[in-house]
């Protein structure tokens, strides 16, 4: 897929976000280029899902800038070039195909083309036979695939995925991963949160590691899985539980921006 006037790269500069007096995202900066598959790793409460929402424009940062290829405002053009799939798929109270058609309708696609494209994408992800089933009675895994089809049908330049295979069995996870790979191969840049190290290894070209609202490591997937520089990332990779370190300073001075290893380093 070739996009005219691309919205990438995504440049996030010094963004912070707080709720109820607590800073949940702290001075994050990074750049994501077109064509990458960035896996955001971290324990619960690291701020992964919140970061996706800030980048996707569902929330505004309290400080800093989310800049899409030099466009710091979340314009219609920027919004229409991206999509997001949430951890718990939200299905409209309609049939599977009507859920897809709805997205196309919002994008101004005419009625005849809507049905054709919606059915095509359903077949592509293996849900063609469920086109006329009410979306909300599908299994959780099928709903999640339908949510991905709903995002994919608009050919987004960037797709945000918030733990799309959480709570799914290996078979359903495999289907989701196949769909993600197919979407990425069609030219969509993937930015995805996951707890699953194996999944990050299978899907990612780049890895971000977050802990308590900070970005501690951002590097290529290969480099991350060979040996991350940050002590907490190393502990996470070993499978250690990170919660007990809460009151302690970040190992290796990771709390300071200077200790963060950016992808460019």
């Amino acid at each position: 897929m070739v996009y005219s006037s691309s919205i990438l790269p995504l440049n996030v500069r010094d963004i912070s976000f707080e709720a109820r007096g607590k800073r949940l995202i702290k001075d994050l900066s990074f750049t994501i280029d077109a064509g990458s598959r960035t896996m955001i790793l971290g324990a619960n409460g690291a701020g992964k899902s919140l970061l996706l929402r800030l980048c996707h424009g569902l929330l505004d940062p309290m400080a800093g800038v989310v800049d899409w290829n030099g466009n710091a405002t979340f314009s219609k053009h920027v919004r229409e070039r991206q999509a997001m799939v949430f951890q718990r798929p939200v299905m409209l109270r309609r049939t599977s195909i009507a859920n897809i058609e709805y997205t196309l309708k919002l994008r101004g696609v005419d009625k005849a083309e809507r049905s054709e494209r919606a059915y095509e994408i359903l077949k592509r992800i293996g849900l063609g036979r469920l086109a006329n089933q009410p979306a909300r009675v599908l299994s959780f895994g099928e709903q999640q695939r339908l949510a991905m089809a709903r995002a994919w049908v608009i050919n987004p330049e960037v797709l945000f995925l918030d733990e799309p295979s959480a709570s799914l069995d290996p078979s359903a996870t495999h289907s989701i991963e196949e769909t993600i790979s197919a979407i990425a191969e069609s030219g969509t840049t993937i930015i995805m949160t996951t707890h699953d190290l194996g999944q990050a290894r299978r899907l990612g070209t780049d890895v971000m590691f977050m802990h308590r609202g900070r970005l501690l490591e951002y590097t290529s997937a290969e480099s991350f899985f060979e040996g991350p520089q940050n002590d907490l990332a190393q502990a996470f990779l070993r499978g250690d539980l990170l919660w007990w370190k809460r009151k302690e300073p970040y190992p290796g001075g990771g709390i300071d921006q200077g200790a963060l290893r950016n992808k460019e380093d």
Partner: protein, 235 residues
């Protein structure tokens, strides 16, 4: 006891033989109540949805007032409409008092808050679930109103049926503004009240049976709709 059974027998006889007087009263009742429900739905549905999706100052106060208006005493509404439409009232020149139109106005005032408040609850629940997804798809709050009303259609029809139930069973307001004039503004509830006071129990019972059947029919329709919705859209 004989009188009791003979009244029932006469009542069923009136229904079975499509008594002209009974049919006329039932017909006017349906005309008034269905018109009122239609107008109230046109007003109440967007108000209910707007209360969820349009931000404005004092929204909580409006919600509290709307909920309070659900329990409006019909006689008070009847009195207010009477004062407005009476000869000396601001709209007296329209000559609407003691007409079916006046009765429709009174019923609209009574049931619009019910439909609006129930719509607000349905839309609020849906919006809590859909908000992030719709915003992500590029559908803002105002544009979401038709989507939410459509996806909540089965629950909203139940709300509208509740409004119809209230309208068709209401007596105080229509008695005051309609005047219970034979062949002009006599509806089921006012006719029952009058016939009982006259001691003509057969017509009162016949109308009562129709009214009760209507009420049971409405509840059955609401139940079936809810079951249908579960099967059809997984709601």
């Amino acid at each position: 006891m004989d009188e009791f059974w003979s009244a029932f027998s006469a009542a069923f006889g009136l229904i079975a033989h499509f008594d002209q007087n009974l049919i006329e009263i039932v017909g006017l009742s349906l005309q008034v109540s269905l018109s009122a429900v239609f107008i109230s739905a046109l007003i109440g549905l967007p108000i209910g949805a707007g209360l969820v999706l349009i931000p404005f100052r004092g929204k909580q106060v409006v919600v509290v007032v709307l909920n309070a208006l659900m329990g409006l005493p019909p006689v008070v509404v009847g009195l207010m409409v009477y004062l407005v439409l009476s000869r000396s009232g601001p709209l007296g020149v329209l000559g609407l008092l003691f007409t079916p139109t006046a009765m429709i106005i009174a019923q609209v005032l009574l049931i619009t808050p019910i439909i609006a408040a129930l719509t607000r609850q349905v839309v609020q629940e849906l919006w809590s679930e859909y908000e992030e997804q719709l915003l992500s798809l590029g559908c803002g709050p105002i544009r979401s109103i038709p989507t939410l009303l459509w996806d909540g259609r089965f629950s909203l029809i139940t709300s509208i049926l509740a409004g119809f139930g209230r309208a068709s069973a209401e007596v105080g307001a229509v008695m005051i503004v309609g005047g219970n004039i034979d062949h002009v503004t006599r509806v089921m509830t006012t006719a029952i009240a009058l016939e009982v006071s006259k001691g003509d129990l057969s017509l009162a019972l016949g109308l009562g049976i129709v009214l009760l059947s209507l009420s049971i029919g409405i509840n059955a329709a609401a139940f079936m709709l809810s079951e249908f919705a579960k099967k059809r859209i997984g709601a």
